[in-house]
Symmetry: C2
């Protein structure tokens, strides 16, 4: 067993497959060439079966030797400290990577996830539409001017921002060619494709076990 363990659910329904957030940590390990194992907790009972390890009942969390870290964003920044492939080591490159990583979490996802949540609840034309449009519009301008968010190269900030932007409802919001090219380019990386197919395969294998148990 490696030092790094990514904790995921043992199964999810088809809808979220390929999008569950353990993918972020798998992807980062693949980009960095870090050895890691994936272990699972039961999807059934997830609201309460791991509150001691993740106080909001979510996944993923990460083990690194004796350390245990929850929040995918925190796991990514932790992994970025272990590999220059995820974050440059010069102060300016590190600061740029940090600011765009936090921007993905707190300026983009803070709007897009609740907007998507309202849409899933039936409010397809909800009151967060305008705010989503503003934030995505600012990003479109930025991505029209550069290939990568930070430091002139791929970083963990691109990994996270592309993961936030590739959600189908977000991707379909308006005509944003620079953003679409960015998402397509980054999700075509071999590390992403491996992480995504590994996640989907784990859930597919679990389908068989659930059928046998029923």
């Amino acid at each position: 067993m490696g030092e790094l363990i990514v904790w995921a659910y043992d199964w999810v329904p088809e809808g979220p497959r390929g999008f569950v957030r353990d993918l972020r940590l798998r992807w980062a390990c693949e980009e960095a060439g870090l050895d890691y194992d994936v272990r699972t907790i039961p999807f059934d009972g997830r609201e309460t079966n791991h509150l001691a390890r993740q106080p909001f009942g979510q996944i993923p969390f990460l083990n690194d030797g004796d350390l245990e870290i929850f929040e995918s964003g925190a796991g990514l920044l932790h992994l970025a400290r272990k590999s220059e492939r995820l974050m440059p080591r010069d102060p300016a490159g590190e600061a740029e990577t940090l600011q765009w990583t936090i921007a993905a979490l707190n300026s983009v996802e803070m709007v897009t996830v609740p907007w998507w949540f309202l849409r899933m609840g039936g409010d397809t034309d909800n009151k967060l539409n305008g705010w989503v449009g503003q934030r995505l519009g600012h990003l479109e301008r930025v991505l029209g001017e550069r290939e990568w968010l930070a430091a002139g190269r791929f970083t963990v900030a691109d990994l996270l921002m592309a993961d936030v932007l590739r959600v189908p409802d977000v991707r379909a919001y308006g005509d944003r060619p620079a953003t679409e090219a960015y998402v397509a380019r980054i999700t075509d990386r071999p590390a992403f494709r491996k992480a995504q197919s590994d996640q989907i395969r784990l859930f597919e294998a679990a389908d068989g076990k659930r059928t046998e148990a029923n």
Copy 2:
């Protein structure tokens, strides 16, 4: 002039005074005993007058010598690297502080800010109510069991989480005695009180200038 400069608006209306996010960076500098200056950009025209420095048109951003960093969460983590008073230096304490800082941004504020946004728009009983209740309920359980979020001591994670939780609408959500005691205790810290009164005083001084200009 010090090396550290916190950039804020030159004026805001009365409602948000004491809550604008440059307060987070002022507060962190006060806690850490770091010298800093505050400089301002015009509130009027803020949507477009500083997009080159903050791509979403927000404040604050931080200068540290040659570095410029936007996103209050990124600024806090940057300052935490400069002072052990904000984040312990042992790997476990650092990981705990990081995970709770990100939790404040991406598990709590990601729900409370859009909820508050809908309320401000007139939807006081909106579809994010239940989700807010779940997240705040989990936090109430955690805060009933410990005094500080991370590492058994005050860290930048407490600073940020308390700032997220002290928003009046959030503070008034349900009966959560452990959370209320936590917010009251942390916002009673001298560093918070100084940062808040400094922010309010800057805006009050600007009232006079605006009156003269009109």
